[in-house]
């Protein structure tokens, strides 16, 4: 009997939630965009991301996912947009949040943590500053972001001297390229290196960590200040992706889930 009551109660809540979604979707007249730019996502994956995101979003009404491969174009485009959600790296968020009046809402989660670390991997025991300037560096992040990581790790004032970064599609490519000797240095996340250790123990033995970054927050979903009050439905749709088949789409972003962000996390 108790179980039956509980079932009816859950059913009631579920139906209300669905109705709430449906109503909002049909009342909503203006299309809501999710704009995305992240130096941590290889641009060749954008078409797949767009197809998968749009297929998921289409069930909730007038939503669309719009990724950008160029930071400047992305920033110019979102400048005057008020009713939208924005997916970007925490690094990028910190750079533009004030100027664009953005409010952070969600942060990515990977293996239960909202942080990741980047590491520099090489076949040499130690990576000197001169190696950063002269060696080939394979990275799955954008050149600008990779340079910023290297500058922070080695306390370098000038990014212009780092000019041998090759962008590769995936972090595993960067690791293989060093493992097989096609590149001298790989920039990768600690998570990818740990996975490499598990599946490629022999190649892993040839590698050494030359430097490690501080904790870096995973990607962020933010909204324009003026849209914060009305953004709940959009945010719920994004957050609930993990409860559907669209979880594979979340994995393409290099995360497992989204969780509400604690503003103090951004102060680090």
């Amino acid at each position: 009997m108790v179980l039956k009551k509980r079932f009816i109660l859950h059913l009631f809540i579920f139906v209300n939630l669905v109705l709430c979604f449906v109503n909002t979707a049909y009342l909503q007249t203006e299309k809501i965009f999710i704009y995305a730019y992240s130096p941590e996502i290889y641009t060749e994956k954008f078409s797949k991301l767009k197809i998968d995101f749009d297929s998921y979003l289409s069930q909730f009404g007038s939503y669309e996912f719009q990724p950008f491969s160029n930071r400047e174009i992305f920033e110019n485009y979102i400048k005057d947009k008020h009713q939208c959600a924005i997916l970007l790296s925490s690094w990028h968020y910190k750079k533009i949040a004030k100027a664009y009046s953005l409010v952070p809402i969600l942060v990515g989660v990977k293996n239960g943590s909202i942080y990741q670390k980047s590491v520099l991997v090489s076949r040499k025991q130690k990576i000197e500053i001169t190696d950063i300037f002269t060696n080939r560096i394979a990275s799955a992040n954008s050149i600008e972001y990779t340079k910023s990581l290297l500058m922070a790790m080695y306390n370098l004032p000038d990014p212009d001297k780092i000019n041998r970064i090759i962008i590769v599609p995936k972090e595993i490519d960067a690791l293989f390229s060093v493992g097989f000797g096609f590149s001298e240095i790989a920039v990768t996340s600690r998570n990818s290196l740990d996975r490499f250790k598990a599946y490629e123990p022999i190649l892993y033995q040839k590698l050494a960590i030359g430097a490690e970054s501080k904790n870096i927050l995973l990607p962020i979903i933010a909204v324009p200040d003026g849209f914060q009050k009305d953004s709940q439905t959009t945010i719920n749709i994004i957050k609930n992706m993990t409860k559907t088949q669209a979880i594979d789409t979340i994995h393409l972003l290099g995360i497992d889930a989204w969780q509400p962000i604690d503003l103090s996390e951004l102060e680090n």
Partner: protein, 288 residues
């Protein structure tokens, strides 16, 4: 400092990009990425454009010294070496570069993913698969098969070869293997009948196919590991800049650092294959 470097750039002979056909998407991607990364002046020849007749190309290639000639595709490489035998060239997107003479002034990027990297990727997805079959001809791939077998052995994988003579025969091979690897073997690739026969026979025998041909993913191959065209352009630019700056280059012909991986999840499930779910992150495309 930057100004000094720039002025010395201006004095340097131009690098020529000679593209086999810029209207072909993969060649276009390679060139565009090259130009985005390369910081020296270039001039361009597009062999796909009718305005570039052979005589015009010849006079362009022989008229004055060039910093470097970057050839995209086989036709560009052949034509360049026909008209200009002495200058430094860099090539990419050339299928089976070993067919062509390579001298001390030649640099390039292999259009095949390094065999060790392909095997590593196979193993990353399918740890249980230990016996992989390969159909090859003595004429084109005997040496490659020997080298690949050594690489595979290091990983505890056995490559089982089936030489192709006049007729393709798989009946002896299939019962011994857990997957079939289709390599760039002219005797197979140039004959569509062979290719379809292989796909059909493997399908009937529940043998998964690994390959390098993206089109095969739509025809039932489970795992495709192929070159990533944007990376070819970027890596070529890196090598080109090293050449122009007279920096030492360890390997004149290099393996590509970036791969494009297609995983046919639907097919893997239909064969009830056990695969590593963590490896899905390494797939650029997952077919469901």
């Amino acid at each position: 400092m930057l100004g000094l470097i720039r002025s010395s750039f201006a004095e340097m002979p131009k690098t020529i990009i000679i593209n086999s056909d810029y209207s072909v998407k993969k060649y276009q991607t390679v060139q565009d990425e090259f130009e985005k990364t390369f910081s020296y002046p270039v001039s361009k020849i597009d062999l796909g454009d009718p305005q570039w007749g052979y005589s015009k190309v010849k006079s362009y290639l022989t008229s004055e010294p060039h910093g470097l000639i970057y050839c995209i595709g086989t036709e560009a490489l052949l034509l360049t070496r026909k008209y200009n035998k002495n200058e430094r060239i860099l090539f990419s997107s050339v299928v089976n570069w070993l067919r062509f003479p390579v001298d001390e002034n030649s640099y390039g990027i292999s259009n095949e993913i390094h065999v060790g990297m392909q095997l590593a990727m196979f193993q990353y997805f399918f740890q249980k698969i230990k016996k992989i079959g390969i159909a090859y001809s003595e004429k084109y791939n005997a040496e490659w098969f020997k080298l690949a077998s050594i690489e595979a052995e290091k990983r505890g994988i056995q490559l089982i070869g089936q030489t192709i003579t006049k007729k393709l025969e798989l009946t002896e091979l299939l019962p011994q293997i857990e997957a079939l690897w289709i390599i760039p073997e002219p005797m197979i690739i140039s004959k569509k009948d062979y290719l379809f026969e292989i796909l059909e026979t493997c399908e009937k025998s529940n043998i998964p196919i690994f390959s390098y041909l993206p089109d095969l993913s739509e025809c039932g191959a489970v795992l495709i590991i192929t070159v990533d065209d944007p990376t070819i352009g970027r890596q070529s630019a890196d090598i080109a800049m090293q050449i122009l700056e007279e920096k030492p280059i360890q390997d004149k012909i290099q393996s590509l650092v970036g791969s494009h991986v297609i995983f046919n999840l639907k097919k893997a499930n239909s064969y009830q294959l056990k695969f590593n779910k963590d490896a899905l992150d390494a797939a650029d495309v997952i077919l469901k």
